[in-house]
């Protein structure tokens, strides 16, 4: 699956920032991934463990914070969480409108790293 390609990119971003910051070793990596992504946490860690061998990020723990998918109602502006995979029609809980725009859920970024 594409966890491998994404994890390769993750390693590059982490190493670049760790080196720029003069780090000796990366201890942990905080990542934020939105609800629309199907990346599986366990596989990201596994691939990372494999790819990072021999680098200063070897052994780093990846902490994944899942950002819930939210929608912004086009009619009243209310922002609300909803499951994009539901078979049910999604309606604004305040005004029942069916017109909405995705607000969060597409995130895929590194928030911070812990280093020594």
């Amino acid at each position: 699956m594409h966890e491998l390609a994404v994890t390769e990119s993750l390693l590059q971003v982490v190493l670049r920032h760790a080196n720029e910051g003069g780090a000796g070793k990366v201890v942990s990596i905080s990542v934020r991934i939105g609800g629309l992504s199907d990346l599986v946490n366990e596989w990201v860690q596994r691939y990372f463990d494999h790819l990072s061998k021999g680098t200063i990020a070897e052994g780093a723990v990846i902490r994944i914070e899942r950002i819930p998918t939210t929608f912004c109602c086009d009619a009243c502006g209310h922002v609300f969480p909803a499951d994009p995979r539901t078979r049910e029609a999604i309606r604004c809980p305040l005004c029942s409108s069916a017109q909405m725009t995705l607000a969060t859920g597409r995130e895929c970024f590194v928030q911070q790293i812990e280093v020594v």
Binding site: S9, V14, H17, A23, L102, F109
Partner: protein, 232 residues
């Protein structure tokens, strides 16, 4: 005893791919070449849709195709038989095309002699959605036999595309595919997406796809000319 310290990163995991996609985008704009990234499951009709467009438009626009497959030459050969320049990228296992692969493919083409490049991405509704290729527009094909619940299972790809083509409408009769449910599921993820329905096999609705593509190529090229390119 060394203290643990925090380094703020706040960078997209796929930042490098996005950077390279941006470079591709700039180069295509310089040459006035419109690029479309066409995605779908295997067998939904990417090659058929491209062939329809190429046959209808090849006397109006100079089109080339970048074919992405894990390991095959079949689709590129079909394009070459139509007289269209085609580059085959064999990913050898990667389930999607990314910006570096597309950049390598573009190097095989003479951009000065082209108006449009269509990327036929690897058949997959998951991974291609994450990787910006530098294309000006993204399109996804969903064929009727796949079912109307694909936007529920694969929300990301439907949320990032500019165009959804519903293919194989000749299979609607007698199926439980609900076009209204599909529209609702897609529009809640992406209210701006354009939705076309057609059948490559019978030809119904295909002219709308050709018109959409021709309009996009034309608009892109005029925009490039306005912004200072002297390519005709």
């Amino acid at each position: 005893m060394t203290e643990v310290r925090l380094i703020e990163v706040r960078e997209e995991i796929l930042a490098e791919n996005r950077q390279e996609a941006g470079d591709i985008r700039a180069e295509l704009r310089r040459h006035g070449v419109f690029m479309l990234n066409l995605m779908s499951s295997p067998g939904s009709g990417k090659t058929s849709l491209i062939l329809k467009a190429v046959r209808a438009l090849k006397d109006t626009f100079r089109i080339a195709v970048i074919e992405g497959d894990i390991d095959a030459m079949v689709d590129a050969e079909k394009m070459v038989r139509e007289g269209i320049p085609a580059v085959q990228i064999r990913t050898g296992g990667a389930c999607h095309l990314d910006a570096p692969m597309v950049a390598a493919g573009l190097k095989e083409l003479d951009l000065a002699a082209l108006d449009c490049v269509i990327i036929e991405n690897v058949g997959n509704l998951v991974c291609p959605a994450e990787f910006d290729t530098g294309a000006a527009r993204r399109a996804v094909i969903l064929s009727v036999p796949e079912g109307d619940d694909k936007p529920l299972k694969y929300p990301l790809i439907f949320s990032v595309c500019d165009l959804l083509v519903i293919n194989k409408t000749d299979y609607l009769e007698g199926s439980d595919f609900d076009p209204e449910a599909l529209r609702e599921r897609v529009l809640r993820l992406n209210p701006g997406i354009r939705i076309l329905s057609l059948s490559c096999r019978t030809g119904e609705g295909v002219s709308e796809w050709i018109r959409w593509l021709a309009d996009e190529i034309e608009a892109f090229r005029s925009n490039s000319r306005i912004n200072g390119n002297d390519k005709e």
